[in-house]
Symmetry: C2
């Protein structure tokens, strides 16, 4: 039996409930637990709503919000690839593409294609909107680490240089003024660590 | 010392991390735990992105998404008022207004006022955008209950008539075609309960 348009849409909305169970590396700021990818996506959308003035170029805030709402749904099939792990980026891209095809394929064709195209735009990171969205996707977990006195950096023995190389280029490209602030906070964080006075950023 | 614009924005974004710790009554669809208000807001924004064709009138999907992203932040101060509890709605409105003033007051003035105005529009539920947003905010937990074979209805001993009166008017007003579906599913659910054959909707 053919599904109706609404049945397909609700099938997709039901399936993506599972994003709430995908656990990321980043902690909540109260450190009570790790963040999941659904609430991370919500938080990023709020970042986009408020910080558009820091984008490297003119951006369409609503498109950036939409991109960030759906950027992680592929993790339902493939899980979260941590920034401090070293997976094959080619394999990751292949798995995520398959997941995007399956998930957006649950939707009515035209709507599914629109969302798939938006997801691909995010992944390619060539448009101003996508560059800004990618920058926020790095900026938010960086802040989580700074605000919790180390977070995943401490857990993974990550150095100042590694933070600069893993977060820097993406944030600088999409939101240069936000990266200026990051440089300052990250430098202060590691200076404190080195001096044996770990302290949360105030 | 005066905070800069960016410091105020980050102060707000840091504060609303706490929405991830506000636990709602509704279960995740896999029933592993209750949903929190941050991931609920993400899910609702996805509902708005996909279901705008079912709105009662012409809606601006991006405004509806923005409304839903921020509609629950007041719960950081006042918690979630469950639909099946019976709090004083006057007291609830007063507490939520104060919370909105405090939270959006963390932002630079113009930006804070814009968000406060959007939140108030949602609360008043007079515009087409707000009516549709409110309808989705009722529709999503109703589906969670149907898809988990009862959810909060079973826990709270809620009857068919109570479901109809608590969810019906708001969903019907903002998204009448979605309410038609709800009526059907809710009726089937309670018929199964009555016949002693509880079963999850497929």
């Amino acid at each position: 039996m053919q599904s109706t348009t609404l049945e397909k849409q609700l099938g997709f909305l039901r399936e993506i409930d599972r994003l709430k169970t995908v656990v990321r590396q980043s902690p909540l700021l109260d450190q009570s637990r790790k963040e999941n990818s659904a609430e991370h996506s919500w938080h990023l959308a709020m970042y986009a709503l408020l910080l558009n003035e820091y984008a490297c170029g003119p951006v369409n805030t609503n498109r950036v919000i939409q991109m960030l709402l759906l950027h992680d749904v592929v993790e339902i099939d493939v899980g979260d690839f941590p920034i401090h792990g070293q997976p094959s980026s080619e394999l990751q891209a292949e798995l995520e593409s398959r997941a995007a095809a399956r998930l957006f394929g649950l939707l009515p064709q035209q709507q599914g294609n629109e969302l798939l195209t938006l997801w691909q735009e995010f992944e390619c990171a060539e448009t101003e909107d996508a560059k800004f969205a990618k920058a926020l996707d790095r900026f938010q977990p960086l802040l989580a680490n700074v605000f919790t006195g180390g977070g995943t950096w401490t857990e993974n023995g990550v150095s100042l240089e590694q933070v600069f190389s893993r977060y820097g280029p993406v944030i600088k490209r999409g939101a240069p003024r936000l990266w200026n602030l990051c440089e300052q906070w990250v430098t202060q964080h590691f200076a404190r660590q080195a001096s044996g006075m770990p302290r949360k950023a105030s």
